[in-house]
Each structure stands twice: as C-alpha cells, then as structure tokens.
Amino acid sequence: MEYWLPIIYMGIMGLALLIYVILDGYDLGVGMLVPLANEAEKDMMIASIGPFWDANETWIVLGIGVLLIAFPVAHGIILTSLYLPVTIMLMGLILRGVAFDLRVKAGDHRRGLWNKAFFAGSLIASLAQGWMLGAYITGLHSSATSLLFSALIAMTLPALYLILGCGWLLMKTDGELRNKAIGWARMAIWPMGLGLFMVSIATPLVSSTIAEKWFTLPNALYLMPIPMICLFCYGLIVAALNKPTMLDKNRSYLIYACTVAICLMASLGLAYSLFPDIIIGGLTIWESAASVKSLQFTLVGVVITLPVILFYTYFVYRIFHGKATALSYE
C-alpha cells in the first residue's frame, strides 16, 4: 500500500492535469482568439464554450487538490516557489471568468471593455501556466537557464491552446467563422511546432536526470513511439490546414483530436521523465506522500466519484453536441 498509493495518486493527478489542458486549453485558446473576430463572431465563439468552461476549470482544482491531498509537502514547496506565476495566473482566470458574464450583463457601453478583459485574462493565464510548467520541469531553480526555459514554455503553451481553440471552433462553428479558424490555426501551428521542438531539445539539456532516462538503451527504443506519434499528428494537422477539404463532413474533429494526441504523448513523456520524483532531483513521491490512512480514505471517494464525473461530463457534452447556437437562458 505504501508503495502503490503514491503511484496511483500520481496517475490521478496526471490524468486531471491532462484533462485540464485539453479541456480548458480550448476555451483559453478561444479566449485568445476573440480579438480577431467581429462582434457577431465573438458572441458565437463565446457561446460555443459557455456551457463548458466552468467545469473545464474544475480540473485544475482537482489536479492541485490531488497534489495537496497526496503530496502535501510537495504541494507547499511547489506552490511557494511558483508564488508569482500562480498569483498572475489566478488573476488572469478571475478576469476571464467574470468577463464571460459581465460582457453581456454590465451594459452595452462596457461590452468592449469586458471583451478585452476576456482576451487579456485568457492570455495571462496561458502564459503563466506555461511558465509554471517550465519552472516545474527544471526543478524549481532560479538559474538563468531555467528562467530561459520557463520563458520558452510560456510562449509554447499558449500556441498549443490556440490550436486547441481553433480545433474546437472547427467542430462547433460554421461558415465564415470556421474558415477564419482555419486561417488562425495556420498562423499558430508554426510557433506551436517550433516551441514543441525546442522544448524537446532543451529538456534533456536542462535536466541531466531526464537526459539519462531518454538516451540510454533500451529505454530510448521504447520511447520512440512518443516522438513518432507526435510528428505524425503534427504532420496531419499541417496537411489538413493546407487542404481544408480534409476537415469536411464528419472530420471536423481532426485537428482537435490530433492536438489531444500530442498532449497525451507529451504528458506520457513527461510522466516517464519525472517518475519517481515529484520535485525533480528534490523529492520522490514516497517522500512527500500523506499518511496511508488519509490516502485510503480519499481513494474511496475518487474511485466512486471519478467515473461518475467522467460520465456526466460526457453527458453534458452530448447535450450540447453539434454546432453552437446563441446562448440563451430561455
């Protein structure tokens, strides 16, 4: 038990954060795209994420919650080290969360202001999350290289969110807006590719622990599918953007699905690189785990509720499937 419980919790935490990235990623992406659209399109874009964003954001609360429940010591160290980016991210999330409502409720003369707040909040939160991820991978040091690396990921993650956002709009919208989304994706795909490439090169350079894990045989062979699948999915996205007929009919999901696959591969790679550390080169998951009794008590709840949560998340997406329609409380 003492061996397996922390591993199970690390799995749950990873799953929660992965789901967070692919779900809140698209609505943050749509948020960053809002300034590029005209007024009617803005409404439609926000309508497409309206019923979902709140539940999407809950996944980061779960991810951080699991960190807190299972690894209280690491929770303190990580969040204390990331004090400023966390605070900045929170302010971004607050701003965009209220902008959803206030842009239609604060009066017409304020709509422009709240549209800007929605954009700014989405951008700030995405940048800050990228920074946090970068700082985390480099072991929470504050050397020049790790700052540079954090800055690199801070630029990459928003590009990934933009592609997720475009992929979402392709599924949920029609006509001119959908064409625009393809155009936006064409612009964002290169920074995303470049970013992912640079991150892949830089990661083993920045952390020798990771380099060791990546480049020893036979591990390197087992790991090969990860970059291969990423490259394949990336190529598919680029091809589809150049030949949009590939996205016609029932294949609107292609770009979103490929991006999700890239996220999944990246997180598998990350999990492999980190394990068994919770703070790279600092603390293992067993060293920072909470007491067995507390972990068992919560696991009961997780086992019961997580499938239910996944089920009703699916249920909500079923209800609002298909192209988005104007939001109405009536």
């Binding site: 309206g50 019923p51 979902f52 709140d54 539940a55 954001e57 809950t58 980061i60 609360v61 779960l62 951080i64 919650g65 699991v66 960190l67 807190l68 429940i69 299972a70 209280p72 010591v73 303190g76 160290i77 969040l79 204390t80 004090y83 400023l84 966390v86 605070t87 929170l90 302010m91 999330l93 607050i94 701003l95 969360g97 209220v98 959803f100 409502d101 206030l102 409720k105 604060a106 009066g107 909470a290 007491s291 009794k293 507390s294 008590f297 919560t298 709840g301 997780v302 509720t305 997580l306 949560i309 009703y312 998340t313 249920f315 909500v316 209800i319 609002f320 109405s328 409380y329 009536e330």
Partner: protein, 450 residues
C-alpha cells in the same frame, strides 16, 4: 516602510476569503430559490414564476461565476502562503477539500451548463433535476468546507505523530463538535442573505416600476423566507455560542470582552476594549446578562481572558464584529417581520417599506462577514486550535512579494465588486416582459412567447 510579511499574508488571506464568501453566500440560497421558482411554475403554470426565474437565473450565473473564480484562488492560496498548514494538517485538510472537489465542484459546474443554457435541449424534468443538482452541489460544497473549518476550530478524531496530524476516526473529524452548529448557522445565513437580496432588488424595481407581478411574487418569497428564518437563525446562533463556550472559551471571552473570570458577568452593549490596560473604556453594560445568555443562569461563571494569557485572540476586533453581526441580525428580523405583516394576504407594501427593503439588499453580506470575523479572528493565534499556530505555518516570502500581490488583489477585487453591483443595477433597471403580464396563462404557450 517595513511591514511584517506574516501580517501581510494574513491580510491577503482575509481579503481573498472575504471577497470569495460574498458570492457563495448569495448563490447557495439563490440556487434553492430558483428551484422553487421553477417548481412553482411547473405546478401552477403561472408565467410570473417563469419570468422570476429568467430574471434571477442571470444574476445567479454571474454570482456563481464570481464565486468559482474567487474560489480557485483559495485552493492555491493554502500552498502559496500557508505551506506549513498542509505539511502538518494535510492528512485532514487534504481529504476534506478533496471530497469537496470530487463530490460538489464537478457536480455544480457541470449541471450549471445544462441549467443555464440547456433549457431548450432537455426536458423540463431534466432541467429541474439539473437545477436541483446545482443547488445541492453548492450546499454539499458548504458541508465539506465547513467541516474542515470546524475541525480547525474544534479538532477531534486525530493524534500527533512527530508533529504531524494523523487521523484516528473520520467520523469524529468530519462531525467534530462545532460542525453541526456552524454548518446550520452558515446555511441559514446564506438563505437569509439571498432572501434579502431578492426582496431588496425587487423592492428597488417596484419603486421604479420596471416590472410587474413577477417582482411582487419574488419580493414576497424573499420577505416570507426572511421572516421565518431570522428568528430561527437567532436560536441556532445561540446554540452555536454555547458550543463555542464549551470548546473555545477564549473566543467567547473576547466576544464579550470579559477580562477577568467572573460570576454574574454583565453584557457589554458598547465599549472600547483596551488590550494594554485590560479594561473596557466607555462601557455600557447590562448587568448579569452575559452570564444569563451564556450559562442561562444570571450568576453563572464566565471565563475571562486572564485565563488564556498570551493565547487569546485580539479582543476589540472580535468584540466589535460580534456586535455588528448581532445588530444587523436584529435589523433583519425587524424589517422582515414588518414586511411580512404588510405583505400578508394580498396587501401591497408602503413606500417606506420598499425603501427599507432596498437599503437592506446586501445586509446579509455585512452579517456574514462580521460573523466570520468573529469565528476566524476568534480562533487566533491558532490555525488549528491547541495544535498549530498560524505563525508557524506561514511561507517565507518577502513583504514586498506578499505586499505587491496583496495590492493587486485589492485593486482587482475592488473593481470586480463595483462591476458586480453595477451589473446588478444594470439588469435591475431594465423593464421586464412581466410588466405586460396580467392573467395566469397556460405553461405550454409560454415557451413560444419568450
């Protein structure tokens, strides 16, 4: 200038949680009220209930969003500013917060989408179920967080191992001695807060003639709720106080500013408690009343602050917060009974009453904040009573870091609070369709008209 980073961190936490609680205090009650509106419409087919729902669900959505985003801040704040709390008490706090996320947050956030935007995509029955689950989720969330808060006030079911809290019995942890009292006191506080919000906004709309029958129905709902709940709240509050006397006598001593243990203690109506001289200046007292309220015996013994030398909370803030809460609570009772009397049967309210109700719109906020200040400041210097002190769990940040983010939060929250009230005014100013509403109409025609 040299500020103590510890004090700044405490102010920051207080700012965040004070801002946050404003919104759940409304949305927990409003969720149930909205369900009531929907049920009444389903039962009676009276369009006014549907209009009432449509107006208030907009405010609910905004309030809910404010609560969600300010709540996310709270979940990070433990780690960013109070890592020692999680290191030492994480075995209790982690699971309780975890259960809140798993059982409540996802439930309310997911079904909120259906409740707000899914009305034409699901059956009326499914929509009612979704509305119920949202209201239930908010209440369940309160259950878990109040359980944790109460455990910090009156910890049971644990033992210490190398200074770390380990759990003995989860039943004793969750249902710790102060939990039932605090939970019901807070739940009723939320219902009262939302009752005054709907009554107050409705009165404001009635004064401006921007709406018709729906507004009257809402006002009456709010007034009747408040009139019934206000006296119950006083009773529950009294029980809560007796529980505190048993488990946290230092808090009671500060609430009543009793410096020395005495028999037949007086209740101090007004005073300026002075910690240096350990006296109350300009005190106006009711003899024997404190002993009578707390022990139900005029000569009963009340422990004084002298028994908790160095380990009692700051007196003046607790003393005054308590009096503000009592005063607002008393006012809520008076106004709600006055309003209930005027609105009985089919009577219409007078203008003074409408003004009074609008003035009382956010009275619940003041009472809730004051009440929480009593209980939270009253817990000081402990973060977990008798186990862990606040000063031992704070993160080692510079005062510039904490001060800088604190200023950021204050500016952001000030702006958001102004925007929230501005949006409420903006929504309330708009004439509603229910102005044209005169007679009761069948529910099936409604959807087409809207």
């Amino acid at each position: 200038m040299d500020f103590d980073p510890f004090i700044l961190a405490r102010i920051q936490f207080a700012t965040n949680i004070s801002f946050h609680i404003l919104f759940p205090a409304i949305s927990i009650g409003l969720g149930w009220i909205l369900l009531f509106f929907r049920l009444r419409f389903t039962q009676t087919g009276d369009q006014a209930w549907e209009y009432a729902y449509q107006f208030w669900v907009k405010i609910f959505a905004l309030t809910f969003a404010m609560g969600v985003v300010s709540g996310i801040t709270m979940s990070f704040q433990f780690g960013t500013n109070w890592p020692g709390f999680m290191e030492k008490a994480g075995n209790v706090a982690g699971p309780l917060l975890g259960y809140e996320v798993l059982s409540a947050f996802f439930l309310e956030a997911s079904f909120l989408g259906i409740m707000l935007f899914g009305k034409d995509r699901v059956s009326n029955r499914m929509h009612l179920i979704s509305s119920f689950l949202v209201a239930f989720g908010t209440t369940l969330s309160a259950f878990w967080i109040l359980s944790l808060n109460s455990w910090m006030q009156t910890p049971t079911g644990y033992y210490l191992e190398n200074g770390v809290v380990m759990v003995d019995s989860w039943m004793e942890v969750i249902f710790n001695p102060s939990f039932p009292y605090r939970f019901f006191h807070m739940l009723i506080a939320c219902l009262l807060t939302s009752a005054f919000v709907i009554a107050g906004v409705s009165a404001w709309r009635a004064l401006r003639n921007v709406d018709g029958p729906a507004t009257w129905k809402v006002m009456k709902t709010g007034v009747m709720m408040a009139a019934v709940l206000a006296p119950i709240q006083i009773l529950v509050g009294d029980f809560h106080g007796l529980n505190t006397l048993e488990h946290q006598p230092a808090k009671i001593a500060a609430m009543e500013a009793v410096w020395e243990t005495e028999k037949g203690a007086a209740f101090t109506l007004f005073a300026l408690p002075d910690e240096e001289s350990k006296t109350n200046r300009y005190a106006i007292e009711v003899p024997y009343a404190a002993s009578f309220i707390l022990t139900h015996d005029p000569m009963g013994e009340v422990k004084g602050l002298n028994e908790f030398e160095g380990e009692h909370p700051p007196v003046a803030m607790v003393f005054w917060s308590f009096r503000v809460m009592l005063a607002v609570g008393g006012l809520m009772l008076l106004v709600s009974w006055w309003a209930a009397w005027q609105l009985r049967g089919k009577n219409t309210p007078t203008k003074p009453l409408l003004y009074a109700l609008s003035a009382m719109t956010f009275s619940g906020w003041i009472a809730v904040l004051a009440g929480w200040y009593v209980t939270e400041i009253g817990r000081q210097p402990w973060i977990v009573t008798g186990v862990l002190k606040v000063q031992d769990v704070v993160a080692d940040h510079s005062s510039a870091t904490v001060g800088g983010t604190l200023i950021g939060y204050i500016l952001l929250y000030g702006f958001l609070l102004a925007s929230y009230i501005g949006a409420l005014l903006n929504l309330s100013r708009k004439p509603a369709a229910s102005l044209k509403l005169t007679a009761v109409s069948a529910p099936q025609t409604v959807n087409k008209e809207v």
